[in-house]
């Protein structure tokens, strides 16, 4: 990850009268072979194996059948775990967008030096391990943590609040941990918007809010969709943060899968969980992409 996309300079959205030549696929397709082979060996092949394993009917892997899928899909508990996981993703994505958009706007509008500093702050989490970031949140959210110390100090509460091992705490921590994934695409999209558009809107009589809602927001929709996709996917699969901040009693798909594979050696069911999760995530991603495609008209060449 580099600062590249974030630092992309804002150019005019369209160069009127100057047709932009479309990229022609003139490159030799063989250039993609190494990556293709890499994907085949390290992604497609394991995925195929995973699919195969999920079709064993029993943990001993003696016969094939759809038993594992039936077990998952007909079990309200398993479906609840799936639902809770996807919902967690929605909550985290919403919070990340809510906090990330103002940050991205600030970053886009900030003058040079401040912009560099803000970019560094946004990127910093990417440069530290997710485990370190997660442990930092344990310190922040704990009974002796910063939040509780502040609340107690201000006399807002008598006993420390339980923040760690709650869904709220988890959502907050995940939102911070995944923030760069939201902010970077947003900044890229925002910096591609012609600054004259906001001026044009103002000159036409629009206030700041109208300009934001009618011009800025729709035009950065592709960035929002990209950011949401990344954040959502990262949040629902964030095994480490989920288990350290959410705790052992809050069961999400990654932990459910891990439990079946690691503690119980039930590979077929673990594989079926993985496939169901994959399909569910793909469905969500497709849905979001559809929104993205609707907004594609806004994106400029």
């Amino acid at each position: 990850m580099t600062a590249g996309p974030a630092m992309a300079t804002a150019g005019p959205v369209a160069a009127p009268g100057r047709p932009v030549r479309a990229w022609t696929a003139a490159y030799d397709i063989r250039l993609a072979l190494p990556l293709g082979a890499f994907f085949l060996v390290f992604f497609l092949a394991p995925l195929a194996l995973l699919l195969l394993v999920s079709f064993y009917a029993d943990p001993g892997m003696t016969r094939f059948g759809l038993d594992q899928y039936a077990r998952f899909l007909l079990d309200p508990f398993s479906l609840r775990v799936l639902g809770a996981t996807l919902w967690l993703g929605v909550e985290v994505t919403a919070l990340t967008l809510l906090l990330g958009l103002p940050l991205a706007l600030l970053l886009t509008w900030a003058p040079g030096r401040l912009r560099g500093l803000l970019t560094l702050i946004v990127l910093l989490p990417l440069l530290t391990s997710v485990v370190v970031r997660t442990f930092a949140w344990i310190v922040i959210l704990g009974r002796q943590g910063i939040v509780n110390a502040a609340l107690l100090g201000l006399g807002l509460t008598d006993t420390p609040l339980k923040l760690l091992y709650t869904e709220g705490g988890l959502v907050l921590a995940l939102a911070q941990v995944q923030m760069p994934l939201m902010v970077l695409p947003l900044v890229t999209a925002l910096s591609r918007i012609d600054p004259n558009l906001a001026d044009a809107s103002a000159a036409l009589g629009a206030g700041a809010w109208r300009t934001f809602l009618r011009v800025t927001l729709p035009l950065c929709l592709p960035g929002i969709v990209a950011g949401c996709l990344l954040t959502f996917a990262a949040a629902i699969t964030a095994f480490i943060t989920q288990s350290l901040i959410g705790g052992g009693q809050m069961l999400f798909m990654p932990m459910y899968l891990y439990q079946q594979a690691s503690s119980l050696n039930n590979w077929p069911f673990a594989a079926a969980i993985a496939i169901v999760f994959l399909v569910a995530v793909l469905a969500c991603v497709t849905l979001l992409n559809l929104v993205g495609r609707l907004s594609r008209g806004y994106a400029q060449a």
Binding site: V41, A45, P46, L49, L50, L52, V53, Y56, P59, G60, M61, T62, F77, V81, F135, I138, V139, G142, R143, Q144, G145, K162, L164, Y165, S243, L244, G246, G247, G248, Q249, M250, L251, M255, Y256, Y258, Q259, A261, S262, S263, L264, N265, N266, W267, A271
Partner: protein, 347 residues
């Protein structure tokens, strides 16, 4: 046949490459590979066991720390030419490894130390070089009267202060079995244990995902009391975290951590020598010292230091105080318990 197909697939899942390119690992004449546990275990083994082994055997060893489940998966993936020569397991995974025919019987007859081990440590498929001890952990600043029984966890004064782990860990499962026993249950009947957990809910501050996460919660004073691993507590204590270990009158839960020669290892002789070193009174005596405080299993080791103070003065006392659970029985129903824990224990 069944076993073979299962292991083949499971192995391929985790280590497809080893299947595809068997020559990769066969190419060189290997050093001995010992899969120890991560963290403080690795540190202890690197500092004490490895030098002792080098001295006694003249051979060399590579430490490749990983979880039990990963050890099993890796060996399954390449049975004929295993990438690991010596495995270390908690009781649950040890039984899985034995059932899947991944380990050699220990050459007891040739062993100089096997006979000196406490009876419970003498396992023919792989002896126990140390025990892991689970008792009560508490924060002495918050819990003024040291707890004396598992039953203390249910006291109303600890409302919202108790921390446990889920059943993914040996610690969590062992705790469930122990409280089941306390209420008249057993390894085959944990119903009373689940009832007790249900009753514990108001007191539960956290259900951690693993023992490491639980330890961190003491550090954050998120929890003040609960079941805890003796070694993990000693490490926390050494870092200045206010925690103490107490022995419940029902007895400490002792897990045999067993060490095994992997079947088909090309360096069987070295593997045997490493295990011999691990069983030797010299190594165990050193590992018993601070900061490792690893509970020895060799009767020739005179127990002293913190272990003598907190746990037991000698092997007999240790045996008297310890409860060894039947992990063969536990393994049979653990999956159902985890399922049930998932559904019922939500805080």
């Amino acid at each position: 046949m069944t076993l073979h197909r299962r292991s083949l697939l499971a192995g391929a899942l985790t280590l497809g490459a080893a299947q595809a390119f068997p020559g990769l690992s066969r190419a060189q004449a290997r050093k001995l590979v010992f899969a120890t546990f991560t963290g403080s275990w690795e540190e202890a083994h690197r500092a004490v066991l490895v030098p002792a082994f080098r001295k006694s055997s003249g051979g060399d060893v590579i430490l490749d720390p990983m979880l039990s489940v990963d050890q099993i998966a890796k060996v399954q993936a390449a049975r004929a030419n295993p990438p690991i020569d010596v495995m270390l397991h908690d009781p649950g995974p040890a039984l899985t490894a034995i059932a899947q025919d991944l380990v050699e019987p220990y050459p007891v007859a040739q062993s100089a130390h096997y006979g000196d081990l406490i009876a419970d440590a003498q396992e023919p498929m792989g002896p126990a070089p140390f025990f892991q001890i689970v008792g009560l952990t508490y924060n002495p600043e918050k819990v003024k009267t040291p707890p004396t029984s598992w039953a203390d966890l249910w006291k109303p004064e600890y409302k919202g202060r108790v921390g446990i782990t889920n059943l993914n860990s040996t610690l969590g499962t062992g705790f469930l079995v122990e409280i089941a026993r306390m209420h008249g249950g057993s390894e085959t009947d944990v119903e009373p244990g689940f009832k007790a957990l249900e009753a514990l809910k108001p007191n539960l501050a956290a259900v951690a995902a693993n023992p490491g996460a639980l330890a961190a919660l003491y550090q954050q004073e998120q929890v003040d009391i609960g079941p805890g691993n003796f070694n993990a507590i000693q490490i926390l204590k050494a870092r200045g975290v206010p925690v103490e270990f107490a022995i419940p009158k029902e007895g400490i839960i002792a897990f045999k951590t067993t060490i095994h020669i992997v079947k088909n290892t090309p360096v069987k002789e070295l593997a045997f020598k490493l295990i011999e070193a691990a069983l030797s009174p010299e190594v165990q005596a050193k590992l018993m010292q601070s900061p490792y405080l690893i509970v020895p299993t060799n009767r020739k080791v005179a127990i002293e230091g913190a272990i003598a103070k907190v746990l037991a003065k000698d092997a007999d006392e240790l045996k008297r105080k310890s409860v060894f659970q039947d992990w063969a029985a536990i393994n049979r129903s653990r999956s159902a318990w985890i399922e049930r824990f998932n559904r019922e224990i939500r805080v």
